[in-house]
Symmetry: C2
Subunit: 346 residues, 2 copies
């Protein structure tokens, strides 16, 4: 079967014109006469020509018409994180303006498969979204010599950067609890490196821990820090139950995400500890569910959508300007949103 693919050359031949004219008929119709254009289009139709091959056009013109998005975690997992949709919404807003496509690059179990995908992506630039330090995919992206914009982490990337001041944001949450009078404050943390002992460090975890420590001052107690993996309610629930069962349980909990905070609330309910009178909980992200939780969650709001939009806009801008540009650094504001899940220790 598989009859030969129809090429522009075939169309030109059938229409009785040169391939050059045939190409114009599709790409720059104003350059050819009506007569030629119609003949070409008719021939294309008769032959079932699917239109100029994108790959070939790309090769010649040098523009891919898409930007690549490199995520931290497995792609599938990424879509369980409530922070992703607003971020992607922001990115979408920007690429609809261009307009340009968005290529999601999945992670893969094998590290080298993953970097291969980065090397082979047909894109004009990359957004690196919250990726650990020393991730080989970032190096692969940089090696492509295309414009790259980093979001959230890695912190030290030699590219334009868009993010928040995680340390200050975490500090504000901790100070809030401290101001209420809490002395025993536990922390539900993300992992600090992706695999134990690896160099794949997650900068924002480190930053936020530092911020919590800043804000808690002498109330900071490393023994009350629990690492939750993955970022889901269940591990947080388990960790919280464990904390509550201790001889002198914490009176407040700082969670690095709302998701973790939800797990904590769940555990408190199960254990019969009323929130906020006996236990205060602070989240991070201000996801849509936070306001509707019971009790409504006190949390640190950060502008996910804005991050996505700015990152994509900066990238598109860099692509259009032809790349080179000194690394800029955009830190967006965060805000502590005080709701019903925090109160003085009771």
């Amino acid at each position: 079967m598989a009859e030969r693919r129809v090429r522009l050359r075939d169309v030109a031949e059938r229409a009785g014109v040169s391939v050059g004219s045939a190409s114009q008929a599709f790409g720059r119709p104003e350059l050819v006469s009506d007569d030629v254009r119609e003949r070409v289009l008719a021939a294309a139709h008769e032959l079932g020509y699917p239109g100029p091959d994108p790959a070939a056009r790309r090769l010649r013109t040098g523009r891919a018409g898409a930007i690549g998005l490199i995520f931290s975690e497995r792609l599938a997992y990424q879509f369980t994180d409530p922070a992703s949709p607003p971020f992607l919404r922001g990115v979408s807003l920007a690429i609809q303006q261009a307009p340009t496509g968005l290529l999601l690059i999945p992670d893969s179990r094998q590290r080298d498969e993953a970097t291969r995908l980065v090397r082979e992506a047909v894109v004009d630039g990359f957004i690196v979204y919250s990726v650990p330090q020393n991730d080989p995919r970032v190096e692969a992206a940089l090696a492509r010599r295309l414009p790259v914009v980093t979001v959230d982490q890695p912190r030290g990337a030699e590219t334009p950067f868009v993010g928040i001041d995680d340390r200050a944001a975490a500090r504000s949450a901790a100070e809030h609890l401290r101001g209420l009078g809490h002395e025993r404050v536990a922390v539900l943390s993300f992992v600090t490196t992706l695999e134990p002992g690896s160099t794949l460090q997650l900068d924002i975890t480190v930053e936020r821990l530092a911020g919590y420590e800043d804000g808690l001052g002498d109330a900071w107690d490393p023994a009350l820090v629990r690492t939750c993996r993955p970022n889901a309610p269940e591990p947080a629930r388990a960790a919280t139950l464990e904390l509550l069962r201790e001889p002198s349980p914490p009176t407040a909990i700082l969670a690095m995400s709302d998701i973790l905070a939800f797990g904590a609330l769940e555990a408190a309910g199960e254990h019969g500890v009323p929130v906020p009178s006996k236990l205060s909980v602070v989240g991070f992200d201000d996801t849509p569910g936070a306001a509707h939780a019971t009790p409504p969650l006190t949390t640190v709001a950060q502008p996910h959508e804005e991050k996505g939009r700015l990152a994509a806009e900066q990238l598109i801008d860099a692509i259009e300007r032809g790349g080179t540009r000194e690394p800029s650094r955009t830190l967006l504001p965060t805000e502590l949103v005080v709701r019903g899940s925090t109160a003085p220790p009771g």
Copy 2:
């Protein structure tokens, strides 16, 4: 500035080998001697060669290494719909196996811009996700003569199809209310066509309306159908308030999405109508928030993630098999999840 791009030819020259060998050194290292491979890699390093150009490779090999995803609505809006993340999670699961990239194709204000993006996408196939009938982007995708899989709608697509039986699912929700004894049942519906009077029909809306009618039987009253646009709580809230203010208000509401149902719950609260004792509400989708709503929402669960996974798997399969295949039709099961938002009329 802009020193000339480094090509494989330059690397070969520097390493003192033919371009053929240089190509092998990258792509099929087992075919060249260690000596050549090392010389090539060293030369590449010295010259700052970013690796074989993906566009050129694609042209030559004929594989794009990515699949395209065509959404119904503006991309940005799409990420406000809670059904999208699980769907994308399913797609991600499948493409991580391959592995292959996922190109999101944004809609654009101008219709022709949008179809241009479809025509120019460097992909091996398309997933059409919940797109209206006669959408020109679907035609553009079909014209590419690449494998296409349709999800949800358009219903009549001449491609493999993955979806649910929307009519039966809606009927089950309506029958539930009917079984509880409700006589006056309102419906919060999606729009039926994208623009008023256009031929861009949304099949699932039509199907679900038919299902509601089936299930309600003689209790079906077209005057109690309200169209909510967009799919967001606010329009549903407004419509519900309006319904509740009528002389003889409905005792139950069928909503085409949980999002709409949430708006209805909100309105009921505002209007002082207790749910479920004075007003029953049924949603659709069983989104994560449904179980935690107050009261917990009775809703029709549908397997979004499964849809995404199956669609992507079928597409990848078709691509690997070289395309041709008779259109299959996969209808996934739905389930009415009865929670606390429905009760006999009181």
